[in-house]
Amino acid sequence: MVGVKKKMVTLVSSDGVEFVVEKRVAEQSLFIKNALNEGGVEEKVMIPIPKVTSDTLSSVLEYCEKHASATEFQENEIEEWDKEYIEKADLDLLYYLLQASYSMSIMGLMELGAKKVASLIRGKSPQEIRELFNIKNDFTPEQEEEIRREMQWNYE
């Protein structure tokens, strides 16, 4: 044994790309942490991450890396980092990050993503929300008229 060897794990994205990361980074995900505990495997672990593509996984791991060493930073420093991290994600990546954080059980990332989406919704009219998130207006004209009549002043 030469020095202290860092424990590494290999994560495999849904499109087959392998990411070799420190165990403590991967364990930011409760899903991975549980998988490692259950397996009891020591070295050369390969963990498939279903439904998360390599692009998304690389972004998720950037988050995990930062947060795994979060104790070294001031609290407001990590908050600032989080803010920049989620700010540079476009809407598509934001969705993928949310889904990944959910399937991989990374609570902090899930909260960060949900907060970002909520801030995008805040203060917008129904039409603006539809355009931004590409949501189809699936109300029948009758239903829409009813909502409009009931809450007319709010929607103007």
């Binding site: 809407l91 598509d92 969705y95 993928y96 949310l98 889904q99 959910y102 899930m110 909260e111 949900a114 907060k115 989406v117 909520a118 919704i121 805040r122 203060g123 917008k124 009219s125 129904p126 039409q127 929300i129 539809r130 355009e131 998130f133 590409n134 949501i135 189809k136 207006n137 699936d138 109300f139 239903q143 829409e144 909502i147 409009r148 009549r149 009931e150 809450m151 007319q152 002043w153 709010n154 929607y155 103007e156």
Partner: protein, 387 residues
């Protein structure tokens, strides 16, 4: 309008509505009531999310925060009910079809999903349940039908409990103090005469009855149904008596505290606020007691509300926890200067910090309020009945 119906399909495989429902809940729970009401009109999918029992279980009145209901009238038979949501500093309009507009209503009180109106033309009390979207007319109170002007804000309280409510008011009949209570569960009124209290009491609902010189008369009801209403006579200390040239508006919170809003004259019929204090009753072991100041709005917050006004009214609500150690409260002052209304919202959080919440005009077309027909604070309005 049809343009968005024909919008091209999403360019991505995921979309907001395709996220797992737990994630959608995570997002929705971070939004305030005014945003949720708008979201309801975006699509059927989102609207059914907001209506789902899962979401309703997670979304508590606490996630919504306190609201101020304001009733205004444009024409004699055209009333608008709005709710100001302090956490988001935004207004919300409630469905006007629900209002008893034809009855010339005046908003008396709000609690949870219940709103109580006094009809001036019919001399009746009307209760609106926002959840069932129904209006009921209360039987005449024991003192007979009364006009809107007979109701004193400091002497009444609405208490809701999901689908039911209790309406309490205190009044001197002759010189005997009475508590009148209507329960929507039984649909009947009950009256009981208050007795002098010998023991110090806390909790329950406190009504201001009258003031004689430096003595105030308070009727305390509850907290439980079996408790007999009692009379307390705390003394007003010299500091409470307005100084020369000063006026002191007293706003009673119904929880044993009052706000004192001091003002001085700026000119003919125009005044300006010089101080806002919160007073509570310190009970003496032998009965009786004295009003004492428990908090004062600091100068830097007062600076924000120093606008000239002609007349002013207000309401206050407090939440006291841990035997009175943590005192959160909010004071809303409604003032009028030459026909234009202004609303001031002051809040005090659990750590004793005071905040001023800016209250914007109700909508883009009008800057102020006209024909104000009653205000009511409610800390327990979840707004779920609007979603």
């Amino acid at each position: 309008m049809d343009g968005d119906r024909a919008a091209p399909p999403s360019s991505t495989a995921v979309g907001l509505c395709l996220l797992p429902s737990e994630l959608i809940h995570e997002i929705l729970l971070r939004l305030s009531l005014p945003d949720l009401v708008l979201l309801r009109a975006v699509s059927r999918t989102l609207s059914s999310f907001l209506a789902s029992s899962d979401f309703r279980r997670l979304y508590s009145p606490a996630s919504s925060g306190p609201c101020l209901f304001v009733l205004t009238k444009r024409f004699p038979r055209d009333a608008f009910l709005r709710a100001f949501h302090a956490a988001s500093s935004r207004w919300l309009c409630l469905p006007s079809a629900l209002l008893p507009s034809a009855a010339d209503p005046y908003l008396l009180a709000a609690s949870g999903d219940h709103l109580l109106f006094a009809s001036n033309s019919r001399r009746e009390l009307l209760a609106l349940n926002l959840s069932s979207r129904s209006i009921t007319t209360l039987p005449d109170p024991p003192l007979g039908p009364r006009r809107t002007s007979s109701w004193r804000r400091s002497g009444l309280k609405l208490i809701s409990d999901d689908s039911h409510f209790r309406f309490l008011f205190a009044e001197l009949v002759g010189d005997r103090p009475f508590l009148f209570e209507y329960s929507s569960t039984t649909g009947t009124w009950r009256s009981s005469e208050a007795v002098n209290s010998l023991q110090p009491t806390r909790g329950g609902v406190w009504f201001n009855l009258v003031q004689f010189g430096n003595e105030s008369v308070i009727l305390r009801a509850g907290p439980s149904d079996e408790d007999h209403p009692v009379i307390l006579r705390p003394r007003l200390s010299a500091a409470l008596i307005p100084r020369q040239g000063e006026e002191a508006l007293r706003v009673y919170g119904g929880d044993g505290k009052m706000a004192v809003v001091r003002s001085t004259a700026l000119g003919m019929g125009v005044r300006v606020v010089t101080g806002v204090e919160v007073w509570g009753v310190a009970l003496a072991p032998a009965g009786g007691g004295e009003w004492e100041m428990v908090a004062a709005v600091p100068e830097e917050v007062l600076e924000r509300i120093r606008r000239p006004f002609g007349v002013m009214m207000g309401c206050m609500e407090e939440e006291t926890e841990n035997e009175g150690v943590i005192m959160r409260l909010r004071i809303v002052l409604v003032s009028n200067l030459e026909g234009s209304w202004d609303i001031t919202w002051l809040g005090r959080d659990g750590s004793g910090r005071w905040v001023w919440v800016p209250v914007p005009g109700p909508d883009s077309r009008s800057k102020g309020f006209f024909n104000m027909a009653g205000i009511a604070l409610s800390s327990c309005f979840s707004g779920l009945s609007l979603l």
